[in-house]
C-alpha cells in the first residue's frame, strides 16, 4: 500500500514538472550589456532579430563600456558592448577568470567635436583640441572662435566615449577639472545646443541640426573619413563575447553583420562596415 502511495506522490511530482512551460517558448536567452554608444544599435537589432526568431529572448542593457566588460568577465552577460578596446588589466583579469574575450567589431564610430551653431569656429587642429580640453586654452579668441570663455562639456568617466576621447584626442591627459560631465551623448549634445560658448564631443550618430561639427586637422567627421581612417577621432565599436560566439549569440552577431543588420547601424547614425 505504501508503495502505491509513493508512486502516486511521484506521479503528482512528475505531473507538476510537466506543467513547466515548453522549451520551445523561449529556449535561448541572450543578455547584452554595456556601452551607451552601442546601445541604440543593440536595442534596434535585438528588436528586429527577435521578431524574426521568436524562440530567442534578448535582454539589452546600457551601463557603460566598463560595466559591459566587467559583466562579460563575471559571466553575467553573453555580449559585452564596448565603445573602446578592453584595457590590459581587463584582459588579464579575464584570463585569470578563464575567459577569452573575442572582439567582434560591429561598426565604426567617429567622435565628433561639436560647438554651438552660433560659434564662428570653422576648424581645429588636434593640438588645439587637446589644449582646450586639458585647460591650457580657455578663451575662444585664442583658437579662432567667437565669444569669450570656453565651456568644456565631457562625457562622464564611466563612458567608453570618454575613454576613447582621452586616448584619441588628449593623448591620455585628463579633461580639465571644471568640465561639465554628462551621462550620455544626448545630454552632451543638448548642453552644447543651449550654451553658446560650449564645446563637447559625441558619437557621430548624435550630430544634428542643433550643433555644429568641427573638422579636425582639416578632416570632416563623416562615414567616409572614419572608414578610411583619415579622420583622427574614429574608433571601432565592439560586441565582446567569451570566445568565438556560439549558438544564439553567434546568430545575433551574424545578423548585425548582415546587410540588414548593417542597415540598422547606418540608420542609427553610425558607420556601417558594408
Amino acid at each position: 500500500m505504501k508503495k502505491v502511495i509513493w508512486l502516486a506522490v511521484i506521479a503528482v511530482f512528475v505531473a507538476a514538472g510537466s506543467c513547466v512551460p515548453a522549451a520551445s517558448a523561449a529556449t535561448n536567452k541572450i543578455v547584452v550589456e554595456g556601452s551607451t554608444t552601442v546601445l541604440p544599435i543593440a536595442q534596434k537589432a535585438a528588436e528586429v532579430f527577435m521578431s524574426k526568431n521568436p524562440a530567442v529572448d534578448i535582454s539589452v542593457r546600457g551601463g557603460g563600456s566598463g560595466v559591459g566588460i566587467a559583466s562579460l568577465i563575471d559571466g553575467t552577460c553573453d555580449i559585452g558592448d564596448s565603445s573602446r578596446s578592453m584595457k590590459d588589466a581587463e584582459l588579464e583579469k579575464a584570463g585569470q577568470r578563464g575567459k577569452s574575450p573575442k572582439a567582434n567589431v560591429i561598426s565604426m564610430d567617429g567622435i565628433a567635436v561639436i560647438v554651438n551653431p552660433s560659434n564662428g569656429l570653422s576648424a581645429l587642429t588636434k593640438q588645439q583640441l587637446k589644449e582646450i580640453f586639458t585647460g591650457s586654452v580657455s578663451k575662444w579668441s585664442d583658437v579662432g572662435g567667437t565669444g569669450d570663455k570656453i565651456v568644456v562639456v565631457s562625457r562622464d568617466s564611466s563612458s567608453g566615449t570618454f575613454e576613447a576621447f582621452g586616448a584619441l584626442a588628449l593623448d591620455g591627459h585628463k579633461v580639465r577639472a571644471d568640465a561639465l560631465m554628462q551621462a550620455s551623448n544626448q545630454a552632451v549634445a543638448s548642453v552644447i545646443a543651449k550654451t553658446p560658448g560650449a564645446i563637447g564631443y559625441v558619437g557621430l550618430g548624435y550630430i544634428n541640426g542643433e550643433v555644429k561639427a568641427i573638422p579636425i586637422n582639416g578632416v570632416e567627421p563623416s562615414k567616409e573619413t572614419v572608414l578610411s581612417g583619415k579622420y583622427p577621432l574614429s574608433r571601432p565599436l565592439f560586441m565582446y563575447t567569451n570566445g568565438a560566439p556560439q549558438g544564439a549569440t553567434k546568430a545575433f552577431i551574424d545578423f548585425i553583420m548582415s546587410d540588414d543588420g548593417q542597415k540598422i547601424v547606418d540608420e542609427e547614425g553610425f558607420v556601417a562596415l558594408k
Binding site: 511530482f13 579575464a94 548593417q262
Partner: protein, 433 residues
C-alpha cells in the same frame, strides 16, 4: 569563399606578426581594399579585430607567467563566534544548564587544475569524531584547538554535455542535496563517496535537476554487506510567476543496513539491538533498513505580494515529509515552517526570520544525518526552531536561534516531563569571505 580565405590569411599573418609588422599589415589590408578584394569597412574590421586579438594574447601572456592553476585558486572561509546556552532534562536530573563560548573557523580553496577538472579542499576547527560540528569551545586554560580536514574532492565538469550542466564529484565534499533549511541533514556534514549533479534550464524561468550520491556510511567496506547510502534527488526550480518561485524535490535516501553494526559517531536513536547472529552478541545492529522517501517543497513570494507591499521583500513556506518504506512502525516525520524578510541575508540591514516545527520519528531517517542543534541530531524528536538573522555588512551578520525540543517517547507514560525536554539558545556573530 576567396574573400573569406584571404581574410583568414590576413588575420593569421597579423596575429603571427603581432606588433613588429603591424604597420606592414595595415598596408597589406589597404592594398586589398584598393584592389576591391575587401571593402573599406571589412578592412577596418579585420585590422581592429586582429589588433585586439594580439593585445589579448600579450596581456594574458603576462598573467600566464604564473601557472594557471595558481591564478585560478579561489579562497573562501568564515569565522563564527557563538555564545550558546543549553538546558536539558535527563532521566536523573531536573535540568542541567550549560553556557559555552564557541568558535568555528573554516578555510577552503578550489582551483581548476586543467580544463574541466577542479580540486578543492577545506580545513576547519573541530574534532574527527563529530561530523556534525566544527565548533570548538573556548576556555580550558588557553588550550590549542584542533584543525581538521573538512573536505577534499576532485570534480569533473564536462562541457560536452551542454546544455545540461554536469558536475561529477568524488572524495569528501559539500552536501549536494537541496533542502529548504538545514534540518534533516546537518549543514556541517560533508558526505563521502561520489556525487553526480545534472541541471538543465528548460527555459529562462524553469530548471530541472537530478542529484545522485553514492556515499560511504561505515568503514566496513568490503565486508559481505557494505554500509552504503544511495541518494537520488530529482527536482525542479520554477519561477511560476514574476514574483512566485517554487523549488521542489522528491528524495530517495536508500541505505540497506539492517543487521549491520551501528555507524560510527551516530547518536544511536534508530532502533538497534544486540546481534545474536553467529554468536557476535557484542555487536549493536540496526533492526531496519532506511529507505526513506522525502518530498520537499519551498514556495517563495517576492514583493509585491499579489499587489500588496507588506514591508519585507520575501516570504516563503516550506515543508518536508519523510517516510521510511522499510520501517514497520515509527517510520515517518515532517518539517514545516516559513521564512520572512529577505530571501538571503547578504548585506547590511537585511534580515530573515525562520520558523519551523519538526517531528522525526525514531526510524523515519538514518540518525547519522539530522541537525545536531536540534536535540543533538537525534531521531525520535520533535519541537520548534526559530532563528533571526540580521546583516551587519556585506559579509557579516548576527544570528539568534532558539530550539525548544523534546523526545517523542515518554519515559513515564503519564509524565509529560519524561519527554526530557531540551532548550538551546545560540547568539552568533558571523564573518565570511
Amino acid at each position: 569563399m576567396k574573400k573569406a580565405t584571404l581574410l583568414l590569411g590576413v588575420m593569421g599573418m597579423v596575429l603571427l606578426a603581432s606588433r613588429s609588422y603591424a604597420g606592414e599589415m595595415e598596408i597589406l589590408v589597404q592594398k586589398l581594399v584598393d584592389k576591391g578584394v575587401l571593402t573599406q569597412g571589412e578592412g577596418a574590421q579585420v585590422l581592429a579585430e586582429t589588433k585586439e586579438e594580439a593585445r589579448k594574447e600579450v596581456a594574458q601572456g603576462k598573467a600566464a607567467n604564473i601557472p594557471q592553476w595558481v591564478q585560478d585558486i579561489k579562497f573562501k572561509g568564515d569565522f563564527r563566534n557563538r555564545y550558546q546556552w543549553d538546558k536539558a532534562k535527563s532521566a536523573t536530573t531536573t535540568g542541567t544548564e550549560e553556557n559555552r563560548d564557541r568558535i568555528r573557523v573554516r578555510l577552503g580553496a578550489e582551483t581548476r587544475v586543467i580544463e574541466d577538472f577542479k580540486v578543492g579542499l577545506g580545513i576547519a576547527t573541530g574534532t574527527t569524531t563529530d561530523p556534525k560540528s566544527t565548533n570548538v569551545t573556548l576556555g580550558n586554560g588557553f588550550s590549542f584547538k584542533n584543525i581538521i580536514l573538512d573536505y577534499g574532492y576532485g570534480q569533473y565538469l564536462p562541457q560536452w554535455t551542454a546544455p545540461v550542466d554536469t558536475t561529477f564529484t568524488a572524495g569528501k565534499f559539500k552536501n549536494p542535496f537541496w533542502e529548504p533549511i538545514n534540518a534533516l541533514v546537518d549543514p556541517d556534514i560533508n558526505p563521502e563517496g561520489a556525487a553526480l549533479q545534472l541541471s538543465y534550464n528548460v527555459n529562462p524561468s524553469a530548471n530541472v535537476f537530478l542529484n545522485y550520491g553514492f556515499l560511504y556510511l561505515g568503514d566496513t567496506f568490503p565486508k559481505s554487506k557494505n554500509q552504503l547510502q544511495n541518494v537520488i534527488q530529482p527536482g525542479v526550480s520554477w519561477s511560476v510567476l514574476d514574483n512566485v518561485k517554487l523549488k521542489s524535490t522528491v528524495d530517495f535516501w536508500l541505505a540497506e543496513v539492517k543487521g549491520q553494526t551501528q555507524i560510527a559517531n551516530t547518536p544511536g536513536t534508530n532502533t538497534l539491538a544486540r546481534n545474536s547472529d553467529q554468536g557476535r552478541t557484542s555487536d549493536i545492529v540496526y533492526q531496519n533498513d532506511y529507505n526513506s522517501v522525502v518530498p520537499k517543497l519551498e514556495l517563495g513570494f517576492t514583493e509585491p505580494f499579489f499587489g500588496y507591499n507588506l514591508g519585507f521583500p520575501y516570504f516563503a513556506v516550506f515543508g518536508e515529509y519523510m517516510d521510511n518504506m522499510s520501517a514497520s512502525a515509527k517510520g515517518t516525520g515532517w518539517i514545516a515552517g516559513f521564512k520572512i524578510g529577505n530571501e538571503k541575508v547578504a548585506d547590511k540591514y537585511q534580515w530573515q526570520l525562520v520558523y519551523d516545527h519538526r517531528i522525526i520519528e525514531r526510524d523515519a531517517f538514518l540518525d547519522a544525518y539530522p541537525d545536531s542543534d536540534f536535540y543533538g541530531g537525534k531521531t525520535n524528536v520533535g519541537g520548534n526552531h526559530v532563528s533571526l538573522n540580521f546583516g551587519l555588512s556585506k559579509n557579516s551578520w548576527l544570528a539568534l536561534s532558539y530550539f525548544n525540543t523534546y523526545n517523542l517517547t515518554r519515559l513515564t507514560a503519564d509524565s509529560e516531563s519524561s519527554r526530557l525536554p531540551a532548550q538551546v539558545i545560540q547568539a552568533d556573530w558571523n564573518i565570511k569571505f
